[in-house]
Symmetry: C3
Subunit: 262 residues, 3 copies
């Protein structure tokens, strides 16, 4: 039956025309397909960040082939894969990038190594163009994922380590998932267990700040910090009119301790 | 009768997938609608800049629902609104962002508070996704603006203060509307009252430059400044191969004095 | 017969809505046309870089009108042109930008000065909106290039100087074409004449680095440099996890000497 939409997520940046070249490949193979560009500014080669971004976006996207490429191992032995979920198929490198989003859409039900439909000659450095985009376009045209190549045992798929969150009385230890354009720092924790107005001490390495528990950014006065559950359901630290990411110099994977005062 | 197009303007940035999530919401509700991305790099939370950008673009856009979100007050009591003009409907926060573009399309003829079609649960921090995109998509499907929620008295709509320009002999006092990627500084004034080749002294705070009155950027020699009426009909200061915005450190709303020599 | 697609390449940046205004003009004239945004972040006014980017993308794009604007001479006597190739038409300024891509699609078979279909009034500073986008949209609608304006003798078209590459035993002298988002420096040379594992000394002005000859980025250890033939068929210098462009401070047109050790 195919797909009307191909969603597209990379760390290619927008300056060099790499996403457009892939969109062109899709347009030549599957002219009916509409490409929905999720982001091409995932932090360079940051698989964790790309995985979190796609997982948080995917439920809001239309039924689609989800093409995602953050691929520091391009040209090495890492496999190109199609990961099937009940509500969409994911195309990209076998490095953990695709799994969290597939879990959001109901879990991984099958996976295939992509060995067919390559653009020839295949370059060693641009598999988005030569392997992944043609695979996505063929799925959009109604090709079955099983026709992309041999089945992969699901236990063999590379998975990112799950972020660890531990909750103790008055203390949450968790990890940074990422920071957005606004400088809001998103954490792996999903609950705060503190009332609005309470004060939280947030610590990342030797940096820290005090934040008030709130519901929206304006719950902190200008220049002050608020900690809230964000629109993706994650605990996040924000500075009203400023950047929590800059103050905390928070990177994906950094350990964060939240101490609840009182 | 609905709309074929949804134009979309925000300060979300392109890195985090926020515009794509909204586009996904629109695609799920109104698959026929085509999204025309105007800009997602409006200076962060700069309502004035967003309003000017949309007002200067809108006459060149196709007939559309115009979705715009620059929304420092998200999650507070500020209202989500639909603003109706003779040639298009605007969806966004009631903070002044939408009005200048609506004026360009013939003026505000009706306004409604958006209380229907929310995505549930509504987050406190991402109304673009949960309130504004669904409203825009429903309008694209042919829902009437009056079905989005209760009518608002037009006098109650929040409006930005109009920029002030005063013209005296040999002296124009005006305001910065914004600066573009090229470093060209756009002013609220629309006429210079000086002949090509005349010299203008432009002052912003304690910064200043001398510029020649011209028609296009190349009317100044490399590294020199030109003052011209730009493609939006506004007086603008440019440096050929350089950045007037960097030299003048000009911010939206800054007061500018232009002294005409002679 | 017209075109389904308009590809679009500029140095306008994405912040100010300039690409969207042009897309709006196209949508109003040719609602059926789909715009494929190649890049709007060509280095500002860098005609060489824009020309190389479009030439390397164009074979992967669908059959299209290719609209490209990197135009430091906007508003001067430089001509707006339509450049016809066997597989697509190019619209933009007569400054060399369009020719390399037209060569890739089979060579320039005709050229026309664009004198018709202008949006009135024509601004002196935004020909993308007022001259080029309307021309591209009319071609998409089936207007013949010959109806855009008078024919131009092909020998009169402005062409960029071809980059010079000389190959001597153990030594290649070539030029920088550009650097991408990853900091990979692309050269005009297309062959290395050295075996994988060989060491190359690359010199740009007074900067230099040692690179191993490889096939993909991971052929160098983290922080080390690799020299390879990239996905566009050009010799390129990359640093695994770093930026060769930053180390070499390489600009388009810079002369590069590659010395093959041994």
């Amino acid at each position: 039956m195919g797909y009307d939409w191909v969603s597209f997520t990379t760390d290619y940046g927008l300056a060099d025309g790499f996403p457009a070249v892939c969109e062109g490949v899709i347009a030549r193979v599957a002219p009916h397909a509409r490409v929905l560009h999720v982001s091409h500014e995932v932090a360079r080669q940051d698989i964790r960040r790309g995985a979190a971004l796609l997982a948080q976006a995917v439920t809001y996207l239309p039924r689609a082939v989800h093409l995602a490429v953050v691929d520091p191992g391009v040209g090495t032995a890492r496999r190109p894969v199609a990961v099937v979920s009940p509500e969409g198929v994911f195309i990209g490198p076998d490095n953990g990038l695709l799994i969290p989003a597939a879990e959001v859409l109901g879990g991984v039900t099958a996976a295939y190594e992509i060995t067919e439909f390559y653009l020839q000659p295949v370059s060693a450095t641009f598999h988005g163009r030569d392997i992944f985009a043609p695979a996505a376009a063929n799925l959009a045209n109604g090709v079955s994922p099983a026709d992309l190549g041999p089945s992969i045992d699901l236990s063999e798929l590379i998975r990112l380590p799950a972020p660890v969150t531990t909750v103790e009385p008055g203390r949450i230890t968790t990890e940074v998932l990422g920071a957005d354009t606004y400088g809001n720092v998103q954490l792996a924790a999903t609950e705060l267990g503190a009332d609005p107005g309470a004060v939280v001490h947030a610590q990342v390495g030797d940096r820290s700040l005090e934040a008030v528990v709130g519901r929206t950014f304006a719950d902190a006065s200008a220049g002050s910090a608020v900690v809230l559950v964000d629109s993706a359901g994650q605990v996040a630290i924000a500075v009203n009119g400023g950047s929590a990411a800059a103050i905390l110099r928070a990177q994906p994977g950094d350990r964060v301790v939240l101490l609840l005062a009182g």
